[in-house]
């Protein structure tokens, strides 16, 4: 209980920091008024009213820096499950003989922290933006905000579990580096959007999980939401939509959670501490 309280406190701090950074750095209206849909689209890569459609490294670095607060949270929460393997793991698992049950509980803990982090971050962003500018609230904006919340919460949770599980195997630093490098590669592949006429690259763009976090590339069956998203080049033909993206991101999430379960169940806790190269 003490540990959970400690984690919740850190999640709250990371959420506030992330919300403040997003509101100050990435919510930029043309004048003093910004609509909620425009604001949500800016949080997921759009610049002004224009969706991300550039391959320039500076443009993609701007996308990466939008992910930065969540990467910091992932670095912290990436030790939530792993720390039980790091210090006194024999003690932890003699008290928890059913590792599957322990894993389920830890996954729920990480899920709770990820959802809270995303919710706090978004709430602070919207509140701070409302203080700085006149935010026009509307129904399409609320729906896009919900899409953003669901997709980013699942993605943050997936990466956090990935880091936790990989840390058991490789140590915390190598796992974080691997997870960040994979995310960086996915972001760099967004630059191939202009070449999407090539079938292989189009498939690559569709399986890239980060493509499914760029709300500016979405279509919606709800006319008001469709109207709120400005059209963008070739991406219109890719058919990104909330249900499809939810499915893709959830598949990645499920794959990570299930393979993590296998690793946790079969990890030999006497084999050494990955944090110290087996010392």
């Amino acid at each position: 209980m003490y540990r959970l309280r400690y984690d919740l406190l850190y999640t709250l701090l990371f959420g506030i920091l992330s919300g403040v950074l997003a509101a100050v750095l990435y919510v930029n209206p043309m004048c003093d008024t910004i609509s909620l849909p425009e604001m949500v689209l800016q949080l997921s890569g759009s610049r002004g009213i224009f969706a991300l459609y550039g391959a320039a490294p500076s443009e993609l670095m701007a996308v990466f820096s939008r992910f930065l607060p969540s990467i910091l949270f992932e670095i912290y929460a990436g030790t939530v499950m792993y720390r039980s393997f790091c210090t006194a793991s024999v003690y932890v698992f003699t008290r928890n003989p059913d590792r599957a049950k322990w894993y389920r509980r830890e996954v729920c803990r990480v899920l709770l922290l990820s959802v809270l982090f995303t919710a706090i971050s978004l709430a602070i962003t919207v509140l701070l933006a409302a203080v700085r500018y006149a935010v026009v609230l509307n129904v399409p904006g609320a729906i896009l905000l919900l899409y953003h919340f669901v997709l980013y919460a699942i993605w943050t949770f997936t990466v956090t579990i990935f880091i936790n599980v990989l840390s058991i195997w490789l140590g915390s630093y190598n796992a974080t580096l691997a997870a960040t490098a994979l995310q960086a590669l996915c972001i760099a592949l967004l630059g191939l959007v202009r070449l999407s006429a090539q079938p292989v690259l189009a498939v690559l763009a569709r399986v890239n999980p980060v493509s499914h976090l760029i709300l500016g590339w979405f279509h919606s069956a709800i006319p008001a939401v469709e109207e709120a998203i400005p059209p963008v080049g070739d991406v219109e033909f890719w058919g990104f939509s909330f249900p499809v993206s939810l499915l893709v991101v959830s598949v990645y999430c499920l794959a990570v959670v299930l393979s993590g379960r296998q690793l946790v169940l079969h990890h030999d806790i006497l084999s050494g501490n990955a944090e110290l190269d087996g010392v």
Binding site: P57, M61, G78, S172, A175
Partner: protein, 278 residues
């Protein structure tokens, strides 16, 4: 004694998996870029051939930007891998106590700082220097074209060149500019690693991943603070560290490098003076 200890630490750090991984990640990126260039420019007319230094990985090869973009994103993490992480592990396991007992705490702290600087410099400099060598061998050295299609007689060209960090050197010799720029990249990487190492010398981290946070946060903060307006000097680290970057610069910002180094030296002195058992 200090130099000998630093060289021994450097040799040991260079054999660590972190150094080997970083070196090969950089080498693979460089080789991928070189192979792409060979395929792209094979049989090109000399008149249309791009200046061989402008298609280096660190020069933002405009036709092959994917790996350059990945490098920019993972660099803040990668910079601590070769030397800072082994140092943090040494402190975690208590191995540092054995070394400090043998050579003295102050000497150990400074030899570790020197080894962080040297290891990171070597790991980050050698792969880009290999690419410079390969490009010099494989492409015509007389080629003058710009990858953005701007001719050297274009009125915009002097303005672009003036924004390069060592523009005077570039005008003398683009090849010397590339070599000096690569050495500068290695030196800056070493200083960023030393900045992270400063925190390792002072604090004890429970998880090694937290040891890379100082450089990671500092470098990413510069990216976040950089504005899009090209008339305002850039503050992002890659505006200064990469080659042929034509973003307007304020060389005064480079004073941050000696400041970071000073922090590292002061931290090493503090770590060396402190009771190492505490």
């Amino acid at each position: 004694m200090l130099i000998r200890a630093a060289l021994a630490e450097t040799r040991s750090s260079l054999k660590q998996p972190g150094s080997i991984i970083t070196f090969f990640v950089l080498l693979l990126m460089v080789l991928q870029n070189f192979v792409f260039n060979v395929q792209r420019y094979q049989g090109s007319d000399l008149l249309h051939m791009v200046q061989p230094m402008k298609i280096l990985l660190l020069g933002d090869n405009v036709e092959n930007e994917t790996w350059y973009t990945v490098l920019l994103q993972i660099y803040p993490l990668l910079v601590s891998l070769p030397a800072v992480i082994p140092y943090a592990k040494e402190r975690q396991t208590g191995e540092s106590l054995l070394l400090a007992a043998r050579i003295g705490n102050m000497r150990y702290a400074f030899s570790r700082l020197l080894s962080v600087l040297l290891t990171t410099f070597l790991v980050f400099t050698i792969p880009p220097l290999i690419e410079i060598g390969l490009n010099c061998i494989s492409f015509p050295l007389e080629a003058q074209c710009d990858p953005y299609g701007i001719g050297i007689y274009d009125p915009k060209y002097p303005g672009i060149v003036r924004n390069y960090l060592f523009s005077g050197l570039y005008l003398r010799s683009p090849y010397l500019y590339a070599v000096v720029g690569t050495l500068f990249w290695g030196l800056c990487s070493a200083i960023f690693a030393a900045f992270s190492a400063a925190f390792v010398a002072v604090f004890r981290f429970r998880f090694t991943v937290f040891a890379m946070l100082p450089a990671f946060l500092f470098l990413n903060a510069t990216v976040m603070l950089s504005v899009k307006d090209r008339n305002i000097p850039g503050v992002a680290w890659y505006h200064y560290l990469t080659l042929f970057n034509d973003r307007l610069k304020n060389p005064a910002y480079l004073w941050v490098l000696p400041i970071l180094l000073l922090i590292a030296v002061l931290a090493a002195a503090w770590g060396g003076k402190r009771d190492c058992i505490g």
